[in-house]
Amino acid sequence: MPEPIIRVEKLSKTFVSKERKKGAKKKKVVDALNGVSLDIYDGEFFGLLGPNGAGKTTLIKCITTLLIPSSGDAWVNGHSVLREEDKVRASIGCMLMGDRGLYWKLTGRENLNYFGALYHIPKGVRTKRIDDLASLLELGDFFDRTVETYSSGQKMILAFAKSLINDAPILILDEPTVTMDVPTARKLRALLKDLNRRGKTILYTTHLMHEAEELCQRVGIIDHGEIIALGTAAELKASMDRRDVVEIEGIFPEHVVGIVKALAGVRDVAVKAEGNGRTKLSVASDNSRVMLPKLIEAIVGNGSTIEYVKPQEVTLEDVFMAKTGRSLAVDTAQVGKQEVRVGGGGG
């Protein structure tokens, strides 16, 4: 059993701000994190999902020492975020602000050299590391131009390269594929999987469910400053009441419905006439991937014609919606309309 390399223990963060309402100043207290506890294991690829304003960024900022928690503590690579800030920072490679955080009047190479120095990497080692990263991430064409001339995707790749400059054991990435084109994002995911295979622990936030499913060994869903779901994608899906559904359209003799219902693993079958003698069967099961070959075999073997099959598995998006009451797609479109719970105070 791997040991935790990041441990968050009863971490809380409260923001106090002043807001003006009808000319009067009022104190507003926002509990961004409410006693969050979480272990991320050595060598794990961990996904942190949550709607905007849920506390993802605050949690990451506390873990990376950008914010001091109001209470609780966190340990990163064996070091407390409260007492050993420099060691925590030296343990992490970060990409938190997308393509921000780069010097536009410096070239990509000069940016990496600058940040490499801030990470205490000796000059000789740094030069080689920069060359290696340029080759790994194929930074060739634009790398020696000033960043102001880069496209958004190129800036994102450079920001990603910056997070790898110190070759730290832990990588913390906040939506790294946003604004990347599809091939580049795919290449980056492949690279991340490879880095994880080679032992790097990765804490990853994303709004893209397929990314979380593809990459993350475990996923945590955070909302209103609390971890509300935690586990592997399969565990989270299994925790849902909803079953997988496979829709099968075609021409079926009447007795086929009975045969399908009798198959082991089938929970329910709904039948709908579609006209022209065609029927749609909606077959609910525990696991559509396992059931599909059996269903096809049972239906075709009984004089039926299948014209269309559409599996509808429970997805992480369904889990997310069930847990938070919001869709990530909708939430992404509403960036800026932050929803935070006001925890008290005032006056």
Binding site: W75, R89, M97, W104, Y114, N166
Partner: protein, 292 residues
């Protein structure tokens, strides 16, 4: 309960070499950035000449042919009022640029996100600030030299007739207190998240206190003490008295202002750094340093 597992720090090799490397890399990177804004240094070098030009022409308009004698008689300093004011303007430019560059550095880095990137790295803030303030000093010294050279040509004065070595000594010891003031100013900008209005206000207060066009003996008694305990005033007075071979504010002995600047060199950088750290810590408890 603490986490036991530790996987080291990747390629990082902390130590004094790494700290010096931070200072050096920051200076070189920032000089590269400024060199990519074409003609900026030269344009900045004209500012102190303009600053000196206004009072010189005004003085000549009022004093006419007797301007030099009037200035010497009224101030008890020198008849070479053109060089007196040119040096004052150039030193003021060094001081104000140190504050401008630190203030704008913090503000701009907050806006572009590079400040947060810097805070994610394990580099000690002292070395980062040392790099930035040294860069600011080097840049302002380049402007000082160019402006003094061009200004001397424009006003027909010779800045090298006095004790140049001593003036250089004053610049060397005066650099560290400016470092400290830069740290304090940086902490203030970090806190209030606004650079323009503060810089506008502070630079004219500084210009007033430094006595760039006049000796601070013109001030009422209590204000003379305030001005004389301000390191940029001592620096200005030290450089001016060296290059013009005139007495200084402290009775003429060169070592008195020199020793005072040396004392400030020991106190102000540490005080400034402590204030910066305290401000930073307070911000990390509230909204974070990158918030702008």
């Amino acid at each position: 309960m603490a986490v036991a597992v530790s996987r080291g720090f990747g390629l990082a090799r902390p130590g004094w070499r790494a700290n010096l490397d931070i200072v050096y890399t920051i200076i070189v990177s920032r000089l590269k950035i400024i060199s990519r804004y074409k003609g900026m240094l030269l344009m900045e070098a004209f500012l102190p000449i303009m600053f000196a030009g206004f009072p010189l022409l005004l003085g000549f308009a009022i004093g006419g042919a007797n301007a030099a004698q009037n200035f010497q008689r009224n101030t008890g300093t020198t008849a070479d009022y053109r060089l007196y004011m040119l040096i004052g303007s150039c030193v003021f430019m060094v001081v104000t640029l140190m504050m401008w560059l630190i203030g704008y550095w913090i503000r701009r880095e907050q806006e572009t996100g590079t400040l947060e990137s810097m805070y994610l790295a394990p580099a000690k803030r002292f070395y980062v600030l040392a790099g930035v303030t040294t860069y600011a000093f080097l840049r302002s010294m380049m402007i000082f030299v160019i402006a003094l050279f061009l200004g001397s040509l424009a006003f027909g004065v010779n800045p090298l007739s006095g004790n140049v070595l001593l003036a250089f000594g004053f610049i060397t010891v005066g650099f560290l207190p400016l470092w400290g003031i830069g740290f304090i100013f940086g902490a203030f900008i970090l806190k209030i998240k606004e650079a323009n209005s503060v810089i506008q206000l502070v630079q004219w207060v500084v210009a007033f206190l430094m006595g760039i066009y006049y000796p601070i003996t013109f001030f009422p008694g209590w204000m003379q003490y305030v001005a004389a305990s301000f390191p940029p005033t001592i620096l200005n007075d030290g450089i001016r008295s060296s290059l013009l071979n005139i007495g200084n504010l402290f009775g003429g002995e060169w070592w008195v202002p020199f020793a005072l600047l040396l004392a400030f060199s020991l106190i102000l950088p540490l005080l400034g750094y402590e204030i910066f750290l305290q401000t930073e810590r307070r911000l990390k408890r509230t909204e974070g340093v990158g918030q702008y």
